[in-house]
């Protein structure tokens, strides 16, 4: 264990021991847990039993870790189709928590946790905070949304388990966030990166220099962000900014986190088995190659998930991290394989925008979604081609149309969009099919 104590940033904590397991021991633990979780899923969840039977695989066939590749994938559709409790492997009497995330057509997915699952979640979030150098003396302001979204409560319980002081501000009300940050002597902040940039800029407008505050660490996740954005945040707020990764289907935040080295995210491999597959063929790719991240929960009781297609593109980093952790790292998620995009921490599918437009107007107009970043905040613009049916000849009719579209989008997706009416045929079509989403946020950087 001596390597643990060599951790340059001194972030080692006995509760992080699982981060430093000798590799053989770690793989052994993973195999035992994989065998148990597959057995549990097979015996208790109709859906998984049918899936395994259909490919002729029995839980006993998993003899080595690599055998995971014989198991069928799970996709978001499986969670939707079995809504709400179809994938639960525990009786409701054992479920202590439910969370949900929005679906493409209004049908959400539901995830459940047993008491034991909550312990695991707490543990991985606590390790996340330890990895970024937080401890019990920190005052952590949690601006992840509290509620059905896993971000808020996931970070909350982890921070409490750490013994830190938690300030549960949830999202929004930026002026109050800044007041709390200043008056409470907050030392660490959890937020979506774009929201934190908004906080920085609001503070600037208020004439407050965040660098003058005790704030020293930012824990950012729930949406992709970039290195230039990290540099901007670190420079403007005088903090270290860390990327964390997670998804509700697997547990919520806590699946992976950067350490103080800031070079890749350590996956909490004792609880989550990561594979990288070719997004088209589903073939497992060797460490180091870029592909789609596939995750298997190794210790989830309420809702074991086998080989979940995250649609996130990344790669596993084979080299050992200078921090000494043995659990492998994945590179920052750069993009997705499907058409889902994330705006201000909210998952959005073009199909949702489509549903909203249809709700406002009977016929679906041609449309395009343009994502940009202004002043640190994600902007979603929806351009709608005006059709004969919707054209009025007064300005107010057109403005009402715009408002109807904007309201429908906000009702369905939960975030505001700028609706722009454009002329017919002004949105480019490629092979008869339009490119639905144009994302310039990377180029915009901030």
């Amino acid at each position: 264990m001596s390597v643990c104590w060599n951790d340059k940033a001194g972030t080692f904590h006995p509760d992080s021991a699982a981060d430093y397991l000798p590799l053989r021991q770690l793989r052994c633990l993973q195999l035992q847990r994989l065998q148990a979780v597959v057995k549990r899923a097979y015996e208790r969840v109709e859906h998984f039993r049918q899936r395994l039977d259909s490919v002729g695989v029995k839980p006993e066939d998993i003899r080595e870790l690599e055998d995971v590749r014989f198991l069928p994938f799970t996709d978001k559709n499986d969670l939707r189709d079995t809504y709400p409790y179809g994938l639960f492997a525990s009786p409701m009497s054992d479920i202590v928590r439910l969370h949900a995330s929005s679906g493409t057509t209004g049908k959400p997915i539901v995830v459940g946790y047993t008491q034991q699952d909550m312990e695991v979640w707490k543990n991985v979030m606590k390790r996340t905070f330890l990895s970024v150098g937080l401890h019990q003396n920190d005052i952590i302001q949690n601006a992840f949304g509290y509620g059905l979204f896993t971000g808020g409560l996931g970070a909350h319980y982890g921070a409490e388990a750490l013994g830190a002081t938690v300030v549960p501000t949830s999202g929004g009300n930026t002026d109050r966030q800044i007041m709390v940050m200043r008056d409470f002597g907050v030392t660490a902040m959890c937020a979506t990166p774009s929201y934190f940039v908004h906080i920085i800029e609001t503070a600037e407008d208020m004439g407050l220099d965040l660098r003058s505050l005790p704030l020293r660490v930012g824990v950012f996740g729930a949406e992709p962000w970039t290195e230039p954005m990290r540099h901007y945040i670190e420079e403007k707020a005088g903090i270290k900014a860390y990327d964390i990764y997670g998804l509700s289907e697997i547990i919520g935040p806590g699946v992976a986190t950067e350490c103080v080295v800031q070079d890749g995210l350590h996956i909490h491999e004792d609880h989550f088995l990561a594979e990288i597959v070719d997004p088209v063929t589903g073939e497992v790719l060797p460490d180091g190659e870029e592909g789609e991240l596939v995750l298997t929960t190794l210790s989830k009781e309420a809702m074991p998930i086998i080989r979940y297609r995250t649609h996130d593109i990344t790669r596993l980093i084979p080299e050992t991290c200078p921090c000494g952790r043995t659990i492998r790292r994945m590179a920052r998620v750069s993009r997705r394989t499907d058409d889902m995009f994330i705006v201000r921490g909210v998952n959005v599918f073009p199909a949702q925008i489509e549903a909203a437009l249809l709700r406002a107007e009977r016929n679906l107009p041609h449309y395009q979604i343009i994502l940009s970043r202004k002043g640190g905040l994600d902007q979603m613009e929806v351009q709608v081609e005006v059709t004969k049916e919707m054209l009025g000849d007064t300005i107010s009719e057109l403005e009402n149309l715009q408002k109807r579209f904007a309201k429908a989008i906000e009702d369905v997706v939960g975030i505001r969009a700028v609706v722009t009416l454009v002329e017919p045929q002004s949105i480019a079509r490629s092979q008869g099919k339009a490119k639905r989403v144009i994302d310039t946020r990377k180029e915009d950087q901030l």
Partner: protein, 146 residues
């Protein structure tokens, strides 16, 4: 009595207006009068055109969205109170003006105003009862300025 007005949706971008006007010019279509309502983002070009069906066709072929609306052309005396009297008449029967625009016919002392009322039939009735001269399409397009 009713006059067909051709409205075209335009994005508020340089060159959009000229492309619509060019389309009409190339088809040999004359615009008797027009007005442009605009916001920061988009505009509506409203035109009175003799052969409005042809105009609609060529514009739609060129990919524009076109709306045809019934409007009224009224002859208003070119003196103080000329317009006020007309507005009083329609107001008294509860008809509202969506928008209006004017063009002056030089040959006589009258101005011609184009009105879009929220209830065109009720407006016609009230105006005729009060002796306001509604210009028929035939009269309008014979006028020297067309």
């Amino acid at each position: 009595m009713k006059l067909k007005q051709v409205s075209v949706f335009l994005e508020n971008k340089t060159g959009r207006l000229s492309s619509v006007i060019r389309t009409l010019a190339d088809a040999g279509i004359n615009i008797t009068t027009l007005t442009l309502a605009d916001t920061q983002q988009f505009g509506i070009l409203r035109m009175i055109i003799n052969d409005w069906e042809k105009a609609k066709r060529v514009l739609e072929e060129a990919g524009a969205v076109v709306k045809v609306t019934d409007v009224l052309a009224l002859e208003v005396e070119d003196r103080p109170g000329g317009l006020a009297e007309i507005l009083d008449i329609v107001h008294s029967v509860g008809v509202g003006v969506e928008y209006m625009y004017a063009f002056t016919v030089k040959a006589n002392e009258h101005a011609v105003l184009i009105f879009r009322f929220d209830d065109v039939d009720k407006a016609i009735e009230a105006l005729c009862t009060n002796g306001v001269h509604l210009i028929s399409p035939a009269q309008l397009f014979q006028s020297p300025c067309s």
